[in-house]
């Protein structure tokens, strides 16, 4: 039975998984969830799969997973024969984990800043924006230093699921008033990312072609 992704197109965490499914060329089914305005993910059938009532959710046979980063880890370990999307060596694995956790943790303020800006969800706009700016600034520093060492990606010489998890917050940052002008290293990284086979956009990300 194919993998099933419970998805909402405008959710950047769902987008992370759609990106990985496409870039790793994994066959899957998509179930559209009426997240807005229906809040379907907060109804009992969905809470049974993810008690926190968030998307995405992935089902693979008997296995049910929630949280985009855990799903990315599962997809790369179970479906990526090359092993390069989640490296096995100590440093490569740990750096991937570091940035995956960063994406789910420190950088999640960007998701809240965007929801606040676009949908008026509650939050202190200035504080959210400052938090997002700080996290994106940390990414800029990391990629600047990586660039000095000739390293094009966050966790090593090749793209990993860490890059997938970090991409949406940066590329969508204009939605919450953080433009890309002051982040040259991230602009170059995002451009490289967009050129990867299987890349796809989500609503809000201009398709240049």
């Amino acid at each position: 039975m194919a993998l099933v992704l419970y998805n909402y197109d405008l959710d950047e965490n769902c987008y992370k998984v759609r990106l990985a499914l496409s870039m790793l060329t994994i066959e899957h089914e998509i179930v559209a969830v009426n997240a807005f305005p229906g809040k379907e993910q907060e109804t009992p059938p969905f809470l049974a799969m993810n008690p926190m009532g968030t998307l995405p959710i992935l089902k693979d046979g008997d296995l049910t997973l929630f949280g985009a980063e855990a799903i990315l880890a599962y997809l790369s370990r179970s479906q990526d024969g090359s092993g390069r999307w989640l490296p096995a060596d100590g440093a490569g694995f740990a750096l991937s984990m570091q940035w995956l956790l960063f994406a789910a943790g420190d950088l999640s303020v960007a998701t809240r800043a965007r929801a606040n800006a676009l949908f008026g969800t509650p939050g202190d706009e200035a504080a959210l924006r400052a938090g997002a700016r700080r996290a994106i600034g940390a990414m800029e520093d990391a990629m600047t230093v990586n660039g000095f060492a000739g390293q094009d990606w966050f966790a090593g010489p090749a793209p990993t699921i860490a890059d997938v998890a970090l991409f949406p917050a940066f590329v969508l940052s204009r939605d919450f008033g953080v433009d890309h002008d002051e982040y040259p290293a991230l602009r170059k990284w995002a451009r490289r990312f967009r050129a990867l086979p299987g890349f796809l956009t989500m609503p809000g990300i201009p398709d240049y072609h």
Partner: protein, 244 residues
């Protein structure tokens, strides 16, 4: 707020890849810096004549820059050449974007809004440079330079002891530390907003990699100092140097 005459740095050369663009400010006004596919840099007003959207959000196609919103395309002289909604239209020559003189020197892209006749010579320097990074700060250019003066650094290449910051001219400064020489381009983004573009004057053979990382650490310390507020700023420079 008016822009001082002369040349102003708007980006490190290496920060704008061929076929890409970025927005910036000079004295509160918006500019787009972009590089066509042949590698030539351009600085224009960041405003599409159609509906006033930012051209820096757009994308480069060959030697045209296209507005993101409705796809109007402009050639390197700033003249509109193509309007997708009217593909057969011979676009009137009056639809243009103001373009500004642009040169590359000292590892940076420079522009001026001065009219041709009274334009000064662009910044000197065609020696080899190695880019470090650009620092953006919420203060005026004087505050930025004060922070540089108060922020001693260790050299990457040892040399005669000493530390000297001197103005090469206009917005270009030179910082000499031990065996290192840095070029500092000071950009006035707005009244309380400025940028410092930092490049090493030297060869990639010596500075690429570890030398860049060394000076990037200094920029981060400088940024920390600028962001830390007056309490930290009031501390003697020597104490700061130790803390770093």
């Amino acid at each position: 707020m008016s822009l001082a005459p002369g040349w102003h740095p708007v980006a490190l050369s290496g920060s704008i890849d061929p076929g890409t663009s970025a927005g910036t400010h000079l004295a509160g006004r918006e500019y787009v810096v972009w590089r066509d596919n042949s590698g030539l840099a351009h600085v224009w007003e960041d405003r599409c004549p159609h509906r006033g959207m930012k051209l820096s959000f757009g994308f480069v196609r060959g030697d045209h820059i296209a507005c993101l919103y409705h796809g109007w395309q402009y050639d390197t002289a700033g003249r509109c050449r193509y309007i997708p909604a009217h593909p057969d239209l011979e676009v009137p020559a009056t639809i243009t974007v103001p373009v500004f003189a642009t040169v590359e020197a000292c590892g940076m892209i420079w522009t001026t809004t001065d009219a041709d006749p009274d334009r000064a010579a662009p910044p000197p320097g065609d020696g080899e440079t190695v880019p470090v990074a650009s620092l953006h700060a919420a203060c005026g250019t004087e505050g930025l330079l004060d922070a540089v003066r108060a922020m001693p650094a260790a050299p990457f290449v040892a040399g005669t002891a000493g530390w000297e910051l001197s103005q090469v001219g206009g917005t270009l400064w030179r910082l000499t530390v031990g065996g290192d020489t840095l070029l500092l381009g000071v950009q006035r983004l707005g009244d309380q907003r400025s940028a410092l573009h930092v490049a090493i004057e030297g060869s990639a053979a010596i500075y690429a990699g570890a030398g860049q990382a060394h000076w990037h650490a200094w920029i981060r310390a400088l940024r920390h100092r600028l962001g830390a507020g007056p309490a930290v700023g009031a501390r003697p420079a020597a104490a700061m140097a130790e803390a770093v």
